[in-house]
Amino acid sequence: MTDQLLLVSRIAFLVLVYLVFVRVARAVMVEVRAETSGGSDRLSPAEVPVAKNVGSRSATAPNRPSSTSAHSSTSTITGRRLTVRTPAHLAGSSFALDAEVTIGRAPGCAVSIDNAKISKLHARVFESDGRWVIADLGSTNGTTVNGELCGTPVRLNPGDLIGIGEAVLEFE
């Protein structure tokens, strides 16, 4: 082979290599674009149902269709549990989610954990549009889902870790 031919084949090879990366860049762009347009687990304000236990507000939405009864038969809703991971002495204790559940320090809460950093009525887990959702009830130290403070109600996915004060609950 002559030197010129070698030069041509050398350059052609590198061009080919970089063509691969042009395609890769395009594939990555498509991926990233699909991600940014994808949905989030955070509920928009319009999606937040009116809390049942706030009596004075329930009258303002009398015509709201009860999404609870429409979807409650699906398998995502049933069989979910909240399992305590920390504190250690409660670790492993589990609470079945069959209806709305309140979490707090007060003995009347469905999930009652005695800890100074937990408010009396700290958070509630309820079902909305076929998904379990957690909402903070104005607690002093806040509620986190996978480490993110939830200002607005957040949809739960299996495996999510809920932080309430110093306690950690896993949604599964």
Binding site: R10, A27, G38, T76, P158, G163
Partner: protein, 447 residues
């Protein structure tokens, strides 16, 4: 809804889940097939342009066919077991593997005992793809690894200390990182890193809520323990690369878990202290630093490898000498630790940058998987695996380029070596499994 799910179950006996509609529109596997086809073309072109030289093994034809079959097998496996996974991960790994294979085949006549390298690397690639397949088959949900967290931790630490066990451990080229079981030699550390990444992720995901809210002295115990272990590896195995890799993995996962940059600062401070201590105590560390600062002090002796690598890179220039036209065999260990110098010589800056870009794409995809992860464990695990890949690639490429002191470690997917290739394919399979999970609706999930 019920009918759709049943229909999917019929074609999905493994129960891996249904692809989300918005991802299905992109056809990740079709994109991947296109990319793999191009990678295959690059591979064939490279080997064909090598055929002008006489240094190639005579049996290259079968090897070529063998490697192309492996590309197709890897793609088919992904189609079957992780159909929704990110489409660029596998092609990038195969590209690196292919470029590495071409260089190893090319070095056959130039390095000591090189006549078998091409054949052995072809076998190792097959074992790697087999390990990739097994990982995808036996880890249908990444989360199941958390069940074995302590077992994985134990396995990881045992593998790390295995080279120190008398009778099993072997010292090759000054580093005691090999273990021999019967006729098989392998580097247990390559597998330990993955087990430890899983253990760290599973362990820290439990305690991260606490790590986040306050910081007490006993919270520092794990980081001090990790520091001690990595110092011990450096002391007893004389393996700087693994020591650094292991510590970087722990600090990064701890940082992501706690979301507190203070751990990064503590980790850096500990690393600096450990490095200084090692430098003042160990002659072999001092020598590495001296060579790094001035390889020309002893260009025929201690600095020989780095000096030759610098010559090789300079010789390559912008577009390289052309495949088969350089003399990469002059650099000791050009087929393993110094393969980046061989690529720099024959493919030039352009080829080296292509290798760098592949790692960049792999790391970018890995971090994207971590960002999208549904659960805490998956997030930390993806970060850990990506850190391993990135730090390892940086440490050895930086070492060859004299950016950092040289630490003997393999360039993932590119270097010759069975342990490295197989463990990195396992790592890739785990990342792809996580990618698949987050882009599908698992059976029992509502879309």
């Amino acid at each position: 809804m019920g009918r759709v799910r049943r229909a999917w179950r019929a074609v999905d006996p493994a129960g891996l889940g249904r692809i989300k509609p918005e991802i299905a529109a992109i056809h990740p596997r079709r994109v991947e097939l296109g990319l793999i086809a191009m990678v295959g073309l690059v591979f064939v072109f490279a080997l064909a342009s090598l055929s002008g030289t006489s240094t190639l093994p005579s049996t290259l034809g079968p090897f070529l066919a063998w490697m192309l079959v492996l590309l197709v097998v890897a793609h088919v496996v992904t189609r079957r077991f992780a159909p929704a996974a990110d489409p660029v991960l596998l092609p990038m790994a195969l590209f690196l593997n292919g470029i590495g294979y071409v260089m190893i085949a090319r070095l056959t006549g130039d390095v000591d005992g090189g006549s078998d390298l091409a054949g052995l690397q072809a076998i190792w690639t097959a074992v790697g793809i087999a390990a990739f397949t097994m990982t995808l088959v036996f880890v249908p949900r990444t989360r199941m690894l958390t069940r074995y967290r302590y077992l994985l931790g134990l396995v990881g630490v045992s593998l790390l200390v295995l080279p120190l066990v008398p009778g099993l451990g072997r010292s090759i080229n000054g580093a005691r990182i090999w273990a021999s079981v019967g006729p098989v030699n392998f580097q247990p550390g390559e597998f330990a890193k993955i087990a430890l990444a899983a253990f760290f992720a599973a362990y820290l995901v439990d305690s991260r809520e606490l790590l986040r809210t306050r910081i007490e002295l006993r919270d520092l115990a794990p980081i001090l323990l990790a520091w001690g272990v990595s110092l011990a590896i450096m002391t007893f195995e004389k393996d700087l690369g693994s020591s650094l890799l292991f510590f970087a993995l722990f600090v990064v996962v701890l940082w992501i878990a706690s979301e507190r940059a203070v751990f990064l600062a503590i980790g850096s401070a500990l690393f600096a202290g450990g490095a200084l201590m090692a430098w003042s105590t160990f002659a072999h560390v001092q020598q590495r630093v001296d060579i790094w600062l001035d390889p020309w002090a002893d260009p025929r002796g201690a600095g020989f490898q780095i000096v030759e690598a610098s010559f090789a890179l300079a010789d390559g220039g912008l577009t390289g000498t052309g495949l088969g036209r350089g003399e990469p065999g002059r650099v000791p260990f050009a087929e393993s630790d110094f393969i980046f110098a061989a690529i720099g010589e024959e493919l030039g800056l352009a080829g080296s940058v292509a290798v760098l870009m592949s790692f960049l794409v792999l790391i970018g995809s890995g971090l994207r998987i971590a960002l999208r992860a549904r659960g805490g464990f998956e997030k930390l695990f993806a970060v850990g695996l990506t850190t391993l890949l990135g730090v390892q690639a940086f440490v050895i490429m930086g070492g060859v380029l004299r950016v950092v002191p040289l630490t003997g470690i393999t360039l993932p997917f590119v270097s010759y070596g069975g342990s490295s290739l197989v463990s990195n394919y396992v790592l890739l399979a785990l990342l792809m499994r996580m990618s698949h999970e987050q882009r599908t609706v698992a059976p029992g999930d509502r879309p």
